[in-house]
């Protein structure tokens, strides 16, 4: 901890950014200003009044009150806003289960190629062969990584993949005459909130499965709840504690034997690429978060994509449209050429149907395929190794000193790519909650871990450094937590009142919930 300097612990003198009151783009509006120049219609014979083309009763009375601003004002406004965001390019971002790994800029460059960015989704397949081939190549790559033969890239996000998986489950059971009987979906109590929310949207009932002492699924509880009413088990493995379930084979065998499908939430796939595959563990359906393991930038809350890979028994029900590679032999013994086609419900009558418009978040596919090409099979395996190494190294650092004293490991096993600490010690002995530690980390210019999740850990801190952090940055994080706890030993108020240096300080979220102001009132 040489030369470690604590950040300010007072907000008496506001920073320049704190003095700069938030102003919306609407408040910058001055009547008469503008940025865009709209061309003349150029219609021969000149323009007739618009209500000669559309009946007046179908037209707006007043224009929408959009801002009236010039281009430089727009650029300044959003540049100013951007400075009020912390981002991955500014420092460590160890949000558990979010996999905040570096976003390669090559991927942005290739996504912006006109052949991708300006390709209309209704273009005839024969004239979009490059795009369809890219989709097919990414499908094949994900199939190999997941160990499952069939892939649909259509789901727009992990949550969308979950819903898809449950609708596939429903279709599978309906085809076997068991739709009425199977009404329950098992989810461990460590599951992400999306899992139970998806279960309800798909018309199923959530049945929670307990966690055992070593942080895995409680097998006795699972067996007690697994019967002919179970439609599916949704499992994250490694789970949200960062632990690979030692009984994974027994778990999948149990549910399969009872006739349920097995859904693997791939949120934590970054731990196991090239080392273990959901298909080999016995799962039927996997969703992959391309914005986690495959480097699509998170964008401040989207976009992402949540492709699914499935087993043979689920394949007939996959969403449409599907991509098909058709061998087209040249007839003279040359290497066969292939063409790629889009197939709809006519070709796949058992499909659950369409989950969204067009072919999915193609721009995300481009970035993730570029990432897979860059790393290759070995590189993906190495990425997972380094993610696991970094997490274990940071955990080792967090076992030292005050972190070791006040922030015990929740389930003391060797974690994979993330781990969960409990802030219960700091709360009890220092009077400093996990939230306070998180807020004080902001003053250190670091993003805090995921907090208060998973729910079964008191005062949880869920830490996922990812493979793209350096050892120095991991040490820096451990040093910052140590410094915060040392500060709290002498004056817990410092953390309780933090942060001090951010553009705004702690915000009144309860007030925002009581009387929500969710849009600006415009004059």
């Amino acid at each position: 901890m040489s030369e470690f300097v604590n950040p300010p612990a007072t907000a008496e003198v506001p920073t320049p950014m704190q003095r700069d009151r938030a102003t919306t783009i609407f408040e910058r509006s001055v009547p008469g200003r503008r940025a865009a120049a709209i061309p003349a219609s150029g219609v021969p014979g000149g323009d007739v009044p618009i209500d000669e083309l559309i009946p007046a009763e179908l037209l707006r009375d007043e224009p929408a009150r959009l801002p009236e601003v010039s281009e430089p004002e727009i650029v300044r406004h959003y540049t100013r806003l951007s400075r009020r965001n912390f981002d991955l390019d500014s420092g460590i971002y160890p949000l558990g289960s979010c996999t905040m790994k570096h976003n390669p800029r090559l991927n942005e460059r290739v996504a912006a190629l006109p052949g991708h960015a300006r390709l209309h989704p209704a273009q005839a397949p024969a004239r979009a062969q490059g795009a369809l081939e890219l989709i097919w190549l990414l499908e094949r790559s994900l199939s190999e990584i997941c160990g499952l033969p069939h892939v649909s890239l259509q789901p727009s996000a992990g949550s969308h993949g979950e819903l898809a998986g449950l609708l596939l489950t429903r279709a599978f059971h309906a085809a076997h005459g068991e739709a009425e009987q199977r009404t329950r979906v098992l989810t461990p109590d460590t599951a992400h909130g999306t899992n139970p929310a998806s279960v309800t949207m798909a018309g199923y009932e959530v049945v929670k499965v307990a966690t055992n002492e070593e942080g895995g699924v409680d097998l006795d509880d699972l067996r007690a709840k697994t019967d002919e009413r179970v439609a599916c088990l949704m499992l994250t493995n490694p789970n949200t504690l960062g632990l690979f379930d030692r009984n994974i084979a027994e778990i999948t065998d149990t549910v399969r034997a009872a006739g349920g499908t097995l859904y693997y939430d791939g949120a934590n796939l970054n731990a196991i690429m090239g080392h273990s595959r959901p298909g080999d563990m016995g799962f039927d359906i996997v969703h992959v978060n391309l914005h986690k393991s495959f480097s699509q930038p998170h964008g401040g809350g989207g976009p992402g994509a949540g492709p699914i890979a499935v087993s043979d028994r689920i394949e007939p029900y996959l969403p449409v449209p599907r991509i098909e590679r058709v061998e087209a032999g040249t007839g003279n013994g040359d290497a066969p050429e292939a063409r790629f086609e889009l197939r709809g419900a006519d070709d796949h009558p058992d499909s659950i149907g369409r989950l969204r418009g067009f072919q999915g978040n193609f721009g995300v596919f481009v970035r993730s395929y570029a990432y897979i090409l860059s790393l290759g099979g070995d590189g993906l395996a190495e990425a997972s190794e380094t993610a696991v190494l970094n997490a274990n190294y940071l955990l080792a650092r967090m076992r030292e000193g005050r972190a070791g004293k006040y922030l015990p490991v929740a389930f003391d096993r060797r974690p994979m790519h993330e781990f969960v600490l409990s802030g219960s010690g700091a709360k009890r002995e220092l009077g400093v909650k996990t939230l306070d530690i998180a807020k004080r980390l902001l003053d250190h210019n670091m993003h805090p871990p995921t907090v208060y999740f998973p729910l079964l850990v008191d005062e949880a801190l869920m830490i996922e450094p990812t493979e793209t952090e350096t050892r120095e940055s991991l040490d820096g994080f451990a040093d910052a937590v140590e410094a915060i706890l040392a500060e709290a030993e002498s004056d817990p108020e410092i953390a309780r009142q933090a942060p001090y240096t951010t553009p705004v300080r702690r915000l009144d979220e309860a007030g925002a919930a009581r009387s929500p102001v969710v849009r600006q009132q415009l004059g």
Partner: protein, 458 residues
């Protein structure tokens, strides 16, 4: 070692020593039975230049809107997105953060969401807006989920004027909700109001229409709202956000939920995504809204600030009782939309809408003046219209493609095998004339060959 990680061999050894493990393998606490005992069957990694070349080659095999004249629409449109959109959304501070769970260091993203909600609320004439959902068709399905919660009914009545992709998506989701989906046809290009009135009953949770509809026609939302509300159902309108710049607002017409595809607002075509969906509703639905919503508040020193509001609706808090399972706000895409709307501004959006109306009417007149082409309907249109001709649509499209024109989206059997033609400000009068010439040439040739065949037969 890939260039995206930085652990050297020496560091790895030191880190393992700190951990107390002798090898990386020892860190993988994974049962032997499920370990992959071989390398992934994927190609070796490539250099940046090699990846670029590989991707460029794939992109080069697509006919994009830069290399041909694009009249394709049906939900996504080739509008010009100004350079400032790319410049701003490419900034690391917007591109690389996660969802704003730590509001003190996410004020930029949260304020952008708040501005976006304000703008979408202005466009739709409805007081509430989510920060952004996946994309267009899935917002239609999400509106159905809200309607079930609001009405405790499980039947949807959907106009044939709703984009078939949206209808299919609603049907897919409805298998799970569960809900029954009934259809209503068109008359004169617009929703058949008599058929609608007959189809809506006291079990109907929501009526779904599109504005303008799939064939480009502007629906009479007010009349439809009356039919829906008389039966106690909600009215959901899937809207084109550009058209909302000039059309009466859904809120003004009595629509309860206005949703839609955000791509036309400054987002790339990207072969269909990512873009964003928007979701606006009446005040009554505030606790049932799907997705993220930013709200205004103050910090401990009284400074104005923004947070994620109403989080008790959401999956990470409410779990199985959440109003939706969605996490994403398509924040970067919605930001692009907000920048675009700021760029157009109050007057620009109206001017753009009027430009589209004028050129679209010109195009419809120009095309339907051709012998053998007729309009599928003559209802009011804004930016898209449907035509029909006596020749195989696919063959005509091939002919146009050979002339460097993507002439339109073929309409299926349901709509009489027509062609849907979309106009943006990037389609000039000269390009519309060129489309007319190519279509005319092809149809005349068809007619000539038909006459020859007929002549040979007699």
């Amino acid at each position: 070692m890939s260039g995206y990680t930085s652990v050297t061999d020496g560091e790895r050894a030191e880190m393992l020593a700190t951990i107390g493990a002798s090898s990386i393998d020892e860190l993988f606490d994974v049962p032997a039975g499920v370990r992959l005992d071989r390398d992934l069957d994927l190609p070796d990694g490539l250099s940046e230049a090699e990846v670029y070349e590989r991707m460029r080659a794939l992109a080069g095999r697509n006919a994009d809107a830069e290399s041909e004249i694009c009249f394709l629409g049906a939900g996504m449109y080739d509008h010009y997105a100004p350079a400032i959109v790319d410049a701003i959304v490419s900034r690391s501070e917007f591109l690389t953060p996660y969802t704003p769970y730590q509001p003190e260091i996410s004020q930029g993203g949260l304020q952008a969401m708040f501005e976006f909600q304000t703008a979408m609320s202005e466009l739709t004439g409805l007081p509430l807006s989510s920060a952004g959902l996946y994309e267009g068709p899935s917002t239609v399905a999400s509106a159905g989920y809200l309607a079930i919660g609001a009405t405790k009914r499980r039947r949807f009545v959907v106009s044939a004027g709703v984009n078939p992709q949206s209808r299919e998506t609603l049907a897919t989701y409805s298998a799970g909700y569960p809900a029954e989906v009934a259809g209503v046809g068109l008359s004169g290009g617009r929703t058949d109001l008599d058929a609608l009135a007959a189809a809506v009953d006291d079990q109907t949770a929501a009526v779904f229409v599109q504005y303008p509809n799939f064939l480009g026609a502007v629906e009479d939302l007010e009349a439809i709202a009356e039919i829906a509300h008389d039966a106690g159902a909600l009215l959901v309108a899937a809207c084109d956000p550009i058209a909302l710049g000039i059309l009466r607002t859904p809120g003004d017409c009595g629509v309860d939920i206005a949703v839609g595809e955000g791509q036309p607002l400054g987002n790339r075509l990207d072969y269909g995504g990512p873009s964003f969906g928007f979701f606006c509703a009446t005040e009554a639905q505030i606790r049932r809204m799907p997705g993220r919503i930013a709200g205004e508040t103050t910090d401990v020193d009284g400074r104005r600030g923004f947070v994620l509001a109403l989080q008790t609706r959401e999956q990470h808090i409410r779990r199985e009782k959440a109003t939706h399972n969605i996490c994403t706000a398509q924040a970067l895409n919605a930001l692009g939309g907000m920048i675009y709307l700021s760029w157009l501004g109050r007057r620009g959006l109206v001017e753009l809408g009027e430009l589209l109306v004028r050129r679209t009417h010109y195009a419809r007149e120009r095309l339907t003046a051709i012998d053998g082409i007729e309009a599928l309907h003559d209802a009011p249109i804004v930016r898209e219209f449907a035509i029909r001709f006596d020749a195989p649509v696919e063959r005509v499209l091939d002919h146009c493609a050979a002339a460097g024109i993507a002439a339109g989206v073929p309409l299926g059997d349901e709509y009489g095998n027509g062609l849907l033609v979309a106009i943006t400000e990037q389609r000039t009068i000269a390009q519309i004339d060129r489309l007319a010439e190519v279509l005319e040439e092809d149809l005349r040739r068809t007619a000539d060959s038909r006459e020859q065949t007929a002549g040979a037969a007699t």
